[in-house]
């Protein structure tokens, strides 16, 4: 029998020389780590805007509607309420992947509530302070800004809450329904017993929230970052491979680094807020039960009677659909829309899915629920 040799007899050895399988992946991870450690982060939050209101660390940013929008300007302002535990610029991460920029381009007057970073002096800020003072005043100033120089009643605004911001927006609408024309929640948990891995992390049997509050009265960013990393442990490994893979494509690399920047820049949580939110929401599931008292007022989701849209992402392990969807049945509105989106927790906002599917979906919903038209 004649042995057939390959054209290059050493080719079979090449994988061993260049790195095979795990070794090769380890090398990619090493290169990815090096890139992540040395490359500067791209700028974020670059969509032109105007600051219309400030209170302590909170800033409200206004994104003017594009005059050239195909469907014209929408008369109802849209207030975007992001999570308090992450940077608000996730809603304006890149010029072509910007929730606020995308909606403004479609003709909406968009206002972004940027909660800012709490300091030790804000450690006593609880949920009542956040909802009934900070958010309530922000909504009031937005409505005044939207009314402009005209006189007459303040226009109602659409609220669009993302992640924890969605939970807060729903709670706010239940407490102060008058100024809200429509409520949209995106990946916003309300049934916290279905809150996935994060729910298990803060289970009352194992986790004492008091221990998580540092001497400054805050839940530190170190702890928050560790918790987020543990939500997807293998993601911490595979992300380096993704960075290495993106290294040859500057656009993709910039996009990956912008996301990494957002993931790296955690925000501490005010101790009083964390104490109340984790106990009431995650440990007692008090929101859906209707037993949460905020500033002496019971949060009753059935008081949400404005048009409501509940959006969830099918591949979301931070706020699973099972934790978000029950809002649809809890509100008192007769106009409730459910949207289960084929995306992940942040991909729905900053992935290609956003400008392709999600922003137009919001545009259509907002326009069909303008109080002036109904």
């Amino acid at each position: 029998m004649k042995l057939e040799l390959p054209p290059d007899p050493l080719s079979v050895l090449r994988p061993l020389v260049e790195g095979v399988g795990g070794a090769d992946q380890a090398d990619r991870v090493r290169r990815g780590m090096q890139l992540l450690a040395t490359l500067p982060r791209p700028p974020v939050g670059t969509t032109p805007h105007e600051v219309i209101h400030r209170q302590n660390k909170l800033v409200v940013r206004y994104y003017a509607p594009a005059s050239a929008a195909v469907s014209g300007r929408s008369p109802t302002p849209v207030i975007v309420v992001p999570s308090m535990i992450n940077r608000a610029y996730i809603c304006d991460l890149e010029p072509d992947r910007s929730l606020v920029g995308g909606l403004a381009a479609l003709g909406h007057a968009v206002y972004l509530v940027d909660w800012g970073e709490p300091g030790p002096e804000d450690a006593h800020d609880d949920v009542a302070k956040v909802l009934l003072d900070l958010l309530h005043r922000a909504v009031d100033r937005v409505r005044r800004h939207a009314r402009g120089a005209r006189r007459g009643p303040l226009p109602a605004a659409h609220l669009l809450g993302y992640c924890q911001g969605g939970t807060l927006a729903a709670m706010y609408t239940a407490l102060r329904p008058d100024g809200v024309a429509g409520l949209v929640t995106l990946n916003a948990p309300v049934k916290f017993s279905e809150g996935g891995r994060f729910r298990r992390f803060v289970d009352g049997d194992f986790f004492d929230v008091e221990e998580a509050i540092d001497a400054d009265g805050l839940v530190s960013t170190d702890l928050m970052a560790a918790a987020f990393k543990l939500l997807d442990p293998m993601g911490n490994w595979t992300k380096y491979i993704a960075i290495d893979a993106a290294a040859q494509r500057p656009g993709l690399l910039a996009r990956t680094l912008a996301r990494e920047r957002w993931l790296e820049e955690n925000v501490p949580m005010a101790g009083a807020f964390a104490r109340e939110f984790i106990r009431e929401a995650y440990q007692q599931d008090a929101l859906l039960a209707g037993t949460w008292q905020v500033g002496g007022e019971r949060v009753d989701l059935s008081r949400v009677t404005c048009p409501t849209m509940v959006c969830t992402a099918k591949r979301d392990f931070i706020a699973p659909s099972a934790a978000c969807l029950p809002l649809a049945g809890a509100v008192g509105s007769r106009d409730v829309t459910l949207q289960q989106l084929d995306s992940g927790h942040i991909g729905v906002v900053v992935g290609s899915f956003g400008p392709r599917v999600f922003y137009p979906l919001l545009d259509g919903w907002f326009r069909s629920r303008n109080p002036a038209r109904t």
């Binding site: 079979v12 399988g21 209170q55 302590n56 002096e121 009031d140 006189r151 194992f206 004492d208 001497a215």
Partner: protein, 172 residues
């Protein structure tokens, strides 16, 4: 990076594919292992205990730093936090005043609107009154014009009947 299968000889194992498969299996196994660990009550309990110990150590350290600064007659972090808190409360007071001013502005707008509305209504009523008076005047003038050729005996009777209600309304 490993080459494709085309580079390998017939019958020879594809080391590249083999090792990539091994890597995929490793990644899946690690994911499953992490899931098992992170969902385990033992792990969660140990993490909770660890968090307590770290928090305790951190509080002791912070306390020691504060005591050191206090002995050196330097402001502690708590002192600075208090100052920042006062600034925040002052801002809050200003915002509350702004709230009141805006609310008063809204009320003034409503009052102004109501006042203007009332003035418009009064002016309209006055105009209506004038129109009625003018109409009455015109009718009166027309009546006098037709009555002029009539006999002198009939005229005083008419006048007396016309004036009677006016007198009675004044006395009332």
């Amino acid at each position: 990076m490993a080459d494709t299968a085309s580079d390998t000889a017939a019958g020879m194992p594809d080391f590249s594919k083999l090792s990539n498969d091994m890597y995929q299996q490793w990644e899946q196994a690690m994911t499953a292992w992490w899931d098992q660990v992170l969902d385990s009550p033992d792990f969660l309990k140990a993490t909770g205990q660890n968090l307590s110990q770290v928090a305790h150590a951190r509080k002791q350290y912070e306390q020691a730093v504060d005591e050191g600064l206090h002995k050196m007659h330097l402001p502690t972090r708590q002192d600075l936090v208090r100052v920042a808190r006062i600034a925040t409360l002052l801002e809050e007071r200003l915002l509350q005043m702004e709230d009141r001013l805006l609310a008063m502005g809204d009320q003034l707008d409503v009052l102004e609107k109501e006042t203007i509305q009332a003035r418009v209504e009064a002016a309209e009523a006055r105009l209506e009154m004038r129109e009625k008076l003018a109409e009455l005047q015109a009718r009166l003038d027309a009546g006098e014009a037709t009555a002029a050729p009539a006999t002198a005996t009939a005229t005083p009777r008419r006048r007396s009947t016309a004036k009677k209600p006016a007198r009675s309304s004044k006395t009332e």
